[in-house]
């Protein structure tokens, strides 16, 4: 598979993600002046969402749904260069050190990002349920930043990476046991 092809896919995948983000993003009219605009796609034409119920829209712009549309529209895209590459990386309790077994997959993400300077990645950090929620928000961010450093060391531009933390708010495994906790202490790599 050629590098050229990889690039093509990335561009298509990326722009579709942005479009999908726009069409499903709800914005509010009372945004204050202090707040920084984080991303131009956030300031979309989305309907006025002053009612609270419409807030859940964010989930719809996820990459999974984007890929489905992508396949239907652009048939020449056959291979996802990151197909089969791990996108979730796990951490030890109260630690934010990248594990040796994560390196190979992270190197592939790094290579992809270096080859596709327009691609943007969001590193979403998570913590297990133990400890307080805001501290876990900080811990999740620290893990996302550890992955971020790993990618930048391999040549990825800092401007391609955003780190976000969900703390303990979005677990993938339930139950108060070490197996569930291990699955929840993670960073998810998500392309936008």
């Amino acid at each position: 598979m050629s590098v050229n092809k990889l690039g093509k896919l990335a561009v298509i995948g990326f722009s579709t993600a942005i479009i999908a983000g726009c069409s499903t993003t709800a914005t509010e009219t009372d945004t204050s002046t202090v707040a920084e605009a984080t991303d131009s796609s956030v300031q979309s034409e989305g309907a006025d969402a002053s009612t609270d119920q419409s807030f859940g829209a964010g989930q719809e712009g996820s990459l999974t749904s984007v890929i489905v549309e992508d396949e239907a529209v652009a048939e020449e895209v056959i291979v996802d260069p990151l197909a089969g590459v791990e996108t979730v990386f796990y951490f030890d309790f109260d630690k934010s050190i990248v594990r040796p077994e994560s390196r190979e997959a992270l190197a592939k993400h790094a290579q992809f990002l270096v080859n596709n300077p327009d691609a943007r990645v969001v590193l979403e950090g998570h913590a297990d349920e133990r400890g307080t929620r805001e501290y876990n928000m900080a811990l999740g961010e620290r893990r996302a930043k550890a992955i971020s450093r790993y990618l930048t060391i391999q040549g990825v531009a800092a401007s391609q990476i955003e780190t976000v933390s969900f703390g303990e708010e979005v677990p993938v495994a339930f139950g108060s046991n070490s197996d569930a906790w291990q699955l929840n202490r993670r960073v998810e790599v998500r392309y936008e």
Binding site: D30, Q59, E129, T132, E134, V164, F166
Partner: protein, 432 residues
Amino acid sequence: MMFKKWFGVLIASMLLVSTAKAQLVIEITSGADQLLPIAIVPFGYNGVDALPEDVAQIVENDLSRSGLFKPVPRANMLSMPSTEADVFYRDWRLLKSDYVVVGSVRKLENNQYRIGFELLNVLTEKAVQKHSSIDVSASNFRDAAHYISDKVYELLTGTKGAFSTRVLYVTAEGDRKAPLFKLQVADADGFRPQVIVESREPILSPSWSMDGRNIAYVMFRNRRPNIFIQELATGKRQQIAQFRGLNGAPAWSPDGKKLALVLSKDNNPEIYTLDIATQKLERMTNHYAIDTEPSWEPDGKGIVFTSDRGGNPQIYRLDVNTKRVERVTFEGELNTRARMTPDGRYLVTVQKNDGNYHVALQDMKTGRVQTLTETYLDESPSIAPNGSMVIYATTYKGKGILAVVSVDGLVKYRLPSAEGDVREPSWSPYFK
């Protein structure tokens, strides 16, 4: 005659229990050693229509939940007076009740009710609180009852009651993998819950302004955290922080002018203050470690916060003027999310010992530390405005619930929710 009257009262109170909706059901798990016996007699009523609430029952529930009182069961009462003139003190001495609350409800014009009450000392046969009355509409019966509870509590304990306060909390309902998050507010007894905001994305860290009119909270939108402030009465909302990285842990200053918050826009989590009127942001900490969970001291001169600058998370104090930082907690494997009692005497933290997370209380004068809770995965402690009780989140039978413990650790009760996980409680201030 008397039995008939009783029967009527019992039926009425049973009906009220079944119709009153409480999302949070109170289960008292332990109480103080010496309980003050008190009889709250069902209130008399001159009307024929059903009353919206059983005022005496609400007062009884409030007082027993405080863990300081032992109400006389209605079934044991020998008489049911509604004014001091009808009270036979001998009846109450026989029941070993030290105090009696009597009262009545009178229907007025235009759907208003006048609720009168008296608090009587059985031993001295004198009124502690002479006849006093409140006029309310049907929807405010619970407010009237909590007002009476506050009065009785204050007259008998010397501490201002906190029964008329409210609690903010977050629930996660439905499919655990894609729950619906709801920020809610309810009375301190769990009744009258109202949804303030709901979202498919996480909501956390709700906090009150000191006048109880505004709240601040963190809500994710488009997979990023944002801080909002919102006026409760109007629902008017303002997004005040959506920087890159963390936007978390908003805490209102005692004068209501500033918010302390956590941002990582300058690389790692630091404490900032935001002047709400001028929108001026000021960075308060400067350290490569995690600095988070700010909470103002009652006089507004200092902010306590969590930092792992010493290796593991502990509580530090920041002087708001000089920005000097000093360590406050030394006991336990770690201490996080500190809150100070309104008198500044005690610091409540989440402390980890032998792998367990519990709510701990540190005496700021003596440094003595006491563990208050023995439940599982305790977090988010929040102190009642009278400094008597701490509400916190814990796990019970695999579900997130709210629980309350008195600052002396003697009184404990749970508020299990009917649906979903409940978390992130924040006890309101007194409403002005």
